[in-house]
Symmetry: C2
Subunit: 464 residues, 2 copies
């Protein structure tokens, strides 16, 4: 069995915890594993790591790779050079597996959903496998826990066998009234976005109902080239797999699964999955409350205090705070879009940014200065670089730094510091076992990440 | 005419903007002048600065002095060595003025109220003065703008003359129902806490109704000693002037004043005094809203976003965030008290702390480090000191620093830095005209303000 993990995502729904460059699947919400990592581990429970292919878009590639590499030595990972929704992503992934492997059954899963009951999920997948081998495209329907308007629904009431139902119709996200009707009828399931099919069956179905995507998909040859070429991929229409294939195909079957599934599509879902105090409050981090009920208070850094709140979501991050009425969490996306429109960077990035060599956190920025905590992993190495508009000042907190400054090398222990003047070539590395932590003080009138001239990349290769 | 400014205050009501060590009167709420500064300027409009005495408690003395010194070269300022409510504070202040001056009329004002119509206030004071000179104790009653439960009330319905009414009764803070009854009757005024009387009249009244306070007050002799001695002052009962004198005295008269008075006693008052957008929202600082109404969003530093909020107060400061239902702002004090109880420092201080030499702001604190922005005023000088548990690293952003390190002097220009190792004596000064700004990185396992050994004070005097 193969697995395909869809690891794209826009990062708008769980803002300010998620960002455009740090979407939901990368988040560790109240746990030590991200949703992506949990998804990968879930598939490892079903098949070997060489059979698990993840696909993400270029802007998340580095972060996705870093997380998967914490579990697998050499995770299979494709980068989409353009954002084209799920149909093109799944199609090229299936083509990749066909080119590299055999015509086997494939399980397709989103990377940003929560599944509480892994056993129940595994059981359903095993059941579904027999149907996929018979030539069905299996969709996993979730018994609705309420009249949600944020999900698509599948009408499916006639039994096929012990564990599966025939699919009558796919329904787009309904309004509240329609959703209530669906749930009351008992004939509808939530569309989880999880699918299973044989590779060749998918390709045939794609050819029949989405010939345009099929044709472009055939242009890729992953035996010759491991990359998804932009010029080919960019010709793909931007369309979801539901719309392109599932809603039209005749060989669809529904395997209902009761596995504590939640797509964590908005802040009220985060409220739902967490345990509550007796007033119905979820408190995470440094929180004080006075006479609050049914509210979520989520602190990442600073103290948050709630007084007299009812049905309120309050989320604190280093650089942005959200307060939201619980039944309006779908509108968080509107704030996100507005910030994007006015080019406020809080929609885009966190103050913590992960890099192949470790990570940095912007601690504070003011007139003429910016402070960062830089953490360089064991054997991590930053590129040789210089800056035209800022000086940098490094103070070693822990570990040992190897600094190259103007062609001289320095070894810095905790408590020592070094000044990097404007325009002087420098690099920072940690050739040791212990993690290196330094505080960087940037001084200058123009303090932007873009003020950087790279001379060698992190492998020491001279830039062309 | 004399003025007494009562500049104590607990800092709990407008938390997290106010703190125990930075109470309401010191705040500059959406203006460039603090409430204290505005109060001082208001009195300067009525009398000469040598006639204005401020009294505050010891822990706010330095901050109060700094602010008043921005207006007056040598402001008269008494420090209370213990917190004893308003009766002792007013009594010793009156004694001070009698000892130092003559038996004149005194206007007593709180330092943390807002008065929008200075002209109307001045007119009422001038009217009141004639009555005070006749031997009355004048209280300034405010025509109620609503059935507030946070104020004391004065029953006063019978005219005395054109601009004054007889006082029938002082009433403590009522419940909602009683407050509504008061307002409906038209016979009640809010007790503003502003008073006017002749010094000798006050002393006679004090002698009659609060003999204990009177006796202790007589022990002070400000012709010999400018300080309020702790051993004497600490014998005072902790009691308000209303309770000790006003509610009992017979010679009280009410001069109603319509001057846009607001005691800013809670966050909903801050909402009330600010201008609103068409949805009734007050937005201060970096704020985004989506479908919010009747809410206050107050950002000091970071972006705050509100979605679907109604009647919510949201306040962001460097180290604490408050979200509060608007009709529950009186309960903010409970959070403050809880934080105090659990020794969470966010009740006590801001991340910005003012000192005689300038100020510092804690930018960020993490495991093993703390970063500060230190701003040293022109000719500001910090004490000679050392630290047992931390090294410090200073990067000059602007201005010029004179650093003494291990008996050597260094002059540092912007972009240069210096390391202060653990246990080494050092001091920082700015003997120049331009303000000095540095970033300090502290490194150590124990990073507390108390880790400081002072060898000389800021005047260069060797410590005993």
């Amino acid at each position: 069995m193969y697995g395909i993990i869809l690891a794209g995502g826009s990062g708008s729904r769980l803002w300010p915890l998620s960002r455009e460059l740090y979407p939901k699947q990368l988040l560790k919400i109240n746990t030590d594993k991200s949703l992506l990592e949990m998804t990968y581990l879930r598939l490892l429970n079903l098949t070997d790591e060489k059979n698990i292919l993840s696909i993400t878009n270029a802007k998340h590639f580095s972060d996705v790779k870093t997380q998967l590499s914490s579990i697998s030595k050499d995770p299979l990972l494709l980068s989409e050079p353009a954002q084209k929704n799920t149909a093109p992503a799944i199609s090229v992934s299936v083509k990749y597996l066909l080119d590299k492997g055999k015509d086997d059954v494939i399980l397709v899963v989103p990377s940003d959903h929560l599944i509480k009951d892994e056993k129940a999920f595994k059981k359903s997948v095993e059941n579904a496998k027999t149907l996929a081998e018979e030539g069905y495209i299996v969709t996993f329907g979730i018994k609705p826990a309420g009249a949600e308007t944020g999900y698509g629904y599948i009408k499916s009431s006639k039994k096929n066998n012990d564990f599966s139902y025939k699919v009558e119709e796919f329904k787009e996200k309904p309004d509240k009234k329609t959703a209530e009707k669906y749930v009351k009828s008992g004939k509808y399931y939530w569309n989880s976005g999880i699918f299973m099919f044989k590779a060749s069956v998918f390709m045939e179905t794609l050819k029949e109902f989405a010939p345009e995507i099929y044709e472009i998909t055939q242009e890729f040859n992953f035996t010759k080239n491991n990359q998804i070429e932009f010029t080919k991929f960019d010709k793909m229409p931007s369309i979801s797999i539901d719309y392109a294939v599932m809603e039209k195909a005749k060989n669809i079957i529904n395997v209902p699964v009761d596995c504590g599934w939640n797509d964590l599509g908005s802040w009220d879902a985060i409220y739902d999955i967490n345990s509550k105090d007796k007033e119905g409050n979820v408190k995470i981090g440094a929180v004080q409350t006075e006479n609050c009920k049914n509210s979520l208070l989520f602190s990442s850094n600073r103290l948050i205090a709630g007084v007299g709140l009812d049905d309120i979501i309050l989320v604190e991050t280093s650089d942005a705070i959200l307060a939201c009425k619980k039944d309006k969490t779908q509108d968080v996306k509107k704030v996100f879009d507005k910030l994007k429109e006015i080019k406020d960077e809080t929609h885009l990035v966190h103050t913590t940014v992960y890099r192949p060599w470790g990570y940095y956190t912007v601690l504070n920025q003011g007139e003429g200065y910016l402070t960062k905590m830089i953490c360089v992993s064991s054997h991590g190495q930053l590129s040789l670089q210089s800056h035209n508009f800022r000086s940098e000042h490094w103070v070693v907190l822990s570990g040992t730094a190897r600094v190259t400054l103007d062609n001289k090398n320095y070894i810095l222990k905790p408590g020592s510091s070094i000044d990097i003047p404007v325009k002087v070539k420098h690099s920072l590395g940690n050739p040791y076992k212990e993690e290196l932590k330094i505080i960087e003080v940037q001084k200058g009138d123009k303090l932007v990440e873009e003020d950087i001239i790279r001379y060698k990349d992190i492998y020491g290769r001279v830039k062309a």
